[in-house]
């Protein structure tokens, strides 16, 4: 935003290149969800959001993941062209990576998630569409609106909510077993001391002691 004297011409800066970049990214994200669907690894999202998809895969109800993902996609596609930055997390990772797959699975369509090439194609198609819509909205609104539609408020809330995860993990670990709880507490404290996110330390500490003293399964 601070660089106005720089040259911004040519393919890499053009409007029509944008849908292509979104297509690349969406293809990767959708294929990541395919990887998760087949091997239970590689979904491009936070545990909390992937857990919603997992709830659908386990229990068969994809409603929560579909509605959550779709509304985020909707909100971000409206907001993206207005502020000049498309939020990847809400629009592509949550919308394309979780919401749309949940809708497809809810409707009984599994092919785009079981086949890797088909996943890439589906993701790329969705990306082209989303990128195209954003460029279209941009054409119509960029000069008429001067609002960020509360993007700062949502981002602030998103970051604030993220901070709760660390303490929640420590509490959850303590409820799982005593050694795991001690590990999580020490891990969180060490990460805090070194100014790292405490969620990471809590998880590593819990897993380290959980590997030595496994949680008893009833």
């Amino acid at each position: 935003m601070e660089t106005t004297n720089q040259q911004t011409k040519g393919f890499w800066y053009s409007e029509w290149a944008f849908p292509l970049f979104v297509a690349f990214l969406s293809a990767g994200i959708f294929a990541g969800t395919h990887l998760y669907y087949v091997y239970r690894v590689g979904a491009f999202n936070d545990i909390a959001v992937v857990a919603m998809l997992e709830a659908g895969l386990k229990g068969g109800s994809f409603g929560a993941a579909a509605a959550f993902g779709a509304s985020f996609l909707f909100a971000r596609v409206l907001e993206g062209p207005l502020v000049g930055i498309l939020d990847i997390g809400g629009s592509l990772q949550t919308g394309v990576g979780i919401g749309i797959p949940a809708m497809l699975l809810g409707a009984g369509i599994t092919a785009p998630l079981t086949s890797f090439p088909l996943a890439l194609l589906t993701g790329a198609g969705l990306g082209l569409l989303i990128g195209g819509v954003i460029i279209l909205i941009r054409k119509f609104t960029i000069n008429s609106a001067n609002s960020t539609f509360g993007a700062d408020v949502m981002m602030g809330a998103g970051n604030a909510a993220g901070r709760y995860l660390g303490p929640l993990i420590v509490i959850s670990a303590i409820m799982a077993s005593i050694p795991v709880g001690i590990g999580a507490t020490i891990g969180a404290a060490v990460f805090y001391y070194y100014k790292k996110p405490i969620a990471g330390g809590a998880i590593l500490g819990a897993m380290l002691l959980g590997a030595i003293f496994p949680i008893a399964t009833q």
Binding site: T8, G28, V83, I88, G150, A151, A161, L168, V180
Partner: protein, 261 residues
């Protein structure tokens, strides 16, 4: 065999994602004249590292640990991979050769290719190490992380977003409250409704009731009506107030492939 497939697919996925993230991140520096892609926090963090390759690298490294723990535990890479690790490491790679940010970090072409290379390595590393994790550690993850994540989704996130909507002004507070409550009823989580409430409230605050904000409200109403219908909320509501669901409504649901009692 599984591990081999995960590695091959991860390399392709990582390169695609890194390419898009790199190009989008560089374009953010030219917003709003050029449509960028990333996030405001990504943009702020890239600026905070001030073109110093060590800062960019260590910032990404902190989140690599976080992502690694998360992918081992739950198979989820975390959004930090695309918001933080890939853009910052791509920047670090380019800046280690040339400290001029205008020729490196702000250049979509260079960032796209650096991002693709970094993405292929990082995504493959994260996904392939997760497959080799012992069962006892996976158990910890499910017993510890799943409850914690569930608490975060509900009730922490709805409350935090709700408070943010209320603090942002009376209009966002009102829209956030109404749409948040409805959203929790219909979609099972208040956050999407509150986000839409903030969107509408702030939109009207900043630019009044024009065609754009009216279109948004229409779209939101449509979204609620449709998701309510497809989740069978109409039938559940009638049940809970002791009214029999009329046959035509059951038939209408059947027509769209959903079953209600």
């Amino acid at each position: 065999m599984d591990t081999f497939m995960i590695v091959v697919e991860s390399i392709i996925i990582g390169a695609l994602v890194g390419f898009g993230v790199g190009a989008g991140a560089a374009r953010m520096f030219h917003a709003p004249n050029v449509q960028g892609m990333g996030a405001f926090r990504t943009f702020g963090e890239l600026n905070a590292c001030a073109g110093d390759p060590i800062s960019h690298f260590s910032f990404g490294l902190g989140f690599l640990f976080n992502s690694w723990a998360s992918v081992v535990g739950a198979g989820a890479l975390t959004q930090d991979v695309e918001h933080r690790i890939l853009p910052n490491w791509a920047a670090a790679v380019l800046l280690s050769k040339n400290k001029n940010v205008e020729e490196t970090l702000h250049n979509p072409k260079k960032m796209a290719f650096a991002g693709a290379a970094v993405g292929a390595v990082v995504v493959t590393l994260l996904n392939s190490t997760a497959a080799a994790i012992p069962v006892s550690m996976q158990l910890v993850a499910t017993e510890v992380l799943v409850p914690a994540a569930n608490w975060l989704i509900n009730p922490i996130m709805p409350i935090v977003f709700w408070m943010a909507a209320i603090d942002a002004g009376q209009r966002t507070g009102l829209w956030g409250t109404v749409l948040g409550g409805l959203s929790h009823l219909i979609m099972g989580n208040a956050v999407p409704g509150i986000v839409l409430g903030i969107l509408i409230g702030k939109g009207v605050d900043d630019s009044g009731w024009n065609r754009l904000t009216k279109t948004m409200v229409t779209a939101v109403v449509l979204l609620f009506v449709l998701s309510g219908f497809f989740r069978g909320f109409d039938a559940a509501l009638l049940h809970s107030i002791d009214v029999d669901v009329p046959q035509w409504l059951i038939d209408l649901h059947k027509f769209f492939g959903s079953v209600v009692k």
